[in-house]
Subunit: 349 residues, 2 copies
């Protein structure tokens, strides 16, 4: 099946390279398999009715640090990250399955905290927990979410963007990444000065973005009410700079993004400056915001131009594989998703 026969380090390929490599060897053959690997969710056919399904893993020490992540928040975030994928297909999240692997160092009460967060998210988004399993882990905690949903209108894939389409993002970006920087800094302080309690209140918005993000099901409903079906869509889990590569590669387009159109919350801006980080880089490369990045046909411009939940940050071009940032000073820079070593598997700076 696979032709190469020498040892190749996984780091050479990276996650997306590996997935692409695998996907090439798994063509869909079943009549009920409608959408396979390569979108935010798969879609299968139940005798004419499409069902969306997606899967996400969160691993302790890789995707979260229990030192500053309350288990309740972890449960909530795990659900959000799962159903965000369903939203990104223009779907309504309906069910989740949760698998937990944990060692005996966790008490029942700890696991209950985790499920309390899961339940809060289920209630908030009107989703049922319908299954899952629990198993023991020798090491850390692993939370795995399978999310299911139904297409609201028609499913929106990553591959439908056309040159000239508007590039639109919901909410603001970079906040979750800066929240992570605050939590990491407070952890270092705490480890050095044991009796120091962190004061996170001045950073409530960005810390909340990191610890208790929301899925933009509200945006999907709003678009539906406005009669707008995006031509392509993805959720911002790894950062806009990474997501435009996915949309561009799948659709065969390039993108131009205007620096001055990037939606950055004032707190994100302030803390980025405090950390001596370029806010534009943070907004482009910070992950885990779970906003929706989409392309929308220009015919809908009037409907969305003044919408406070949506920012038009650029447009799709015919220059396949070219992703440019037009700076405030009018210069053009190539954008690349930065695969730096990172703690949370998502946020890069």
């Amino acid at each position: 099946m696979f032709e190469n026969s020498e040892r190749t380090d996984l780091t050479e390929l990276g996650e997306f390279g590996l997935i692409k490599h695998i996907a090439e060897h798994f063509p869909l053959s079943g009549a009920t398999s409608l959408i396979g690997i390569g979108d935010d969710a798969a879609m299968i056919d139940a005798q004419g009715n499409p069902v969306l399904v997606s899967t996400d893993s969160l691993l302790e020490g890789v995707d979260f640090d229990l030192m500053y992540t309350p288990l309740k928040h972890l449960g909530y975030k795990a659900v959000v990250s799962g159903i965000s994928d369903i939203c990104a297909m223009n779907g309504k999240p309906t069910q989740i399955l949760v698998s937990i692997a944990m060692s005996n160092r966790f008490s029942l009460e700890a696991i209950e905290e985790l499920y309390l967060g899961i339940k809060l998210a289920c209630e908030k988004y009107g989703v049922d927990l319908v299954g899952g399993d629990t198993s023991s882990s020798r090491q850390g905690l692993v939370v795995h979410i399978t999310s299911m949903g139904l297409a609201v209108n028609e499913p929106v894939k990553r591959s439908g963007a056309k040159a000239g389409d508007l590039l639109v993002v919901s909410g603001d970006t970079g906040g979750a990444y800066m929240g992570l920087q605050i939590l990491e800094r407070e952890k270092r302080v705490f480890l050095e000065v044991k009796d120091m309690q962190p004061d996170l209140e001045p950073y409530d918005y960005i810390v909340g973005r990191q610890l208790k993000p929301e899925a933009r099901w509200d945006v999907i409903q709003m678009l539906n009410e406005m009669g707008v079906v995006p031509t392509s869509m993805i959720d911002v889990s790894d950062g806009i700079a990474s997501e435009i590569f996915h949309l561009g590669n799948a659709s065969g387009v390039g993108f131009e993004i205007y620096e001055n159109k990037l939606p950055i919350d004032p707190q994100t801006l302030q803390v980025a400056q405090d950390f001596d980080l370029n806010p534009t880089v943070v907004a482009l490369n910070g992950g885990e915001d779970y906003e929706l990045l989409m392309t929308i046909s220009q015919e809908h411009f009037e409907k969305i131009k003044n919408n406070p939940d949506l920012s038009i940050i650029g447009y799709a071009t015919e220059q396949v594989g070219k992703y440019n940032l037009i700076t405030n000073a009018g210069n053009t820079f190539g954008i690349r998703a930065q695969g730096w070593d990172h703690f949370d598997g998502g946020a890069t700076k």
Copy 2:
């Protein structure tokens, strides 16, 4: 949500206690949630058409030992364990999603071996891989399978058994457990005498049962052709003794099992004796055979009594919660699922 507030060790509850505890707090509310926690798979409704979905995790050091588990076999077994759950709902497996978490000590070629096994199983069972994700793990390998399927006729739950129904198991049981004992013994020998190569050929059947099990989709098809819909069903992943508790508790019945009706392969029998283990205990408590355990109405007795793939091992009684073994000598013993420490998360002895 959860009332207890002191620290409770997870070991006190056990896996099934924990799942029950969780399930009580997650009633189904969505109109499309048809079957929730408590069966082999959940079922959701796609505008009148039911979709089955199930989820399984395999963790290195808990569910498998890479010292004697080839990655190709691991991939195959992971798929089998997932789609076996769909079969156990009287469903046709149609799609899987695979999530892999691994550390950098794995090469691309190693992961390809894993996916080669996944692909073999997909081809064998006519299942498409439609999604999943990969992430990095600090420690061992984690393989997570989400399985989907469509109900063949009507879904068969754990809760439909009636007193008087025949208790039927497909194939034979205990083999996978004895295969594991052989592999563990050879591992110990290998660790002590480095240049000793194990000769597994005399144990080909039981080692194959452990390393490369099959899901009984053939049995589901056969039952369908015979016009037999079981009243309840479950797959034998933790051992018959454990599974009858699930069927009995869900259905509100008890079971009587005849020792001399238990289907034990001659190799399983021989090796159990070599290991000084009681073959009946092995056949009742050995897990990971992925056979189907079901109850069938007596009206179908003539259809199944001489079927080589099916063994009638007992019957359901009105004595709720009573699970008895009638020995060859005519004595009656209470059966209990033995929660002994075990390596593979499934097989108990």
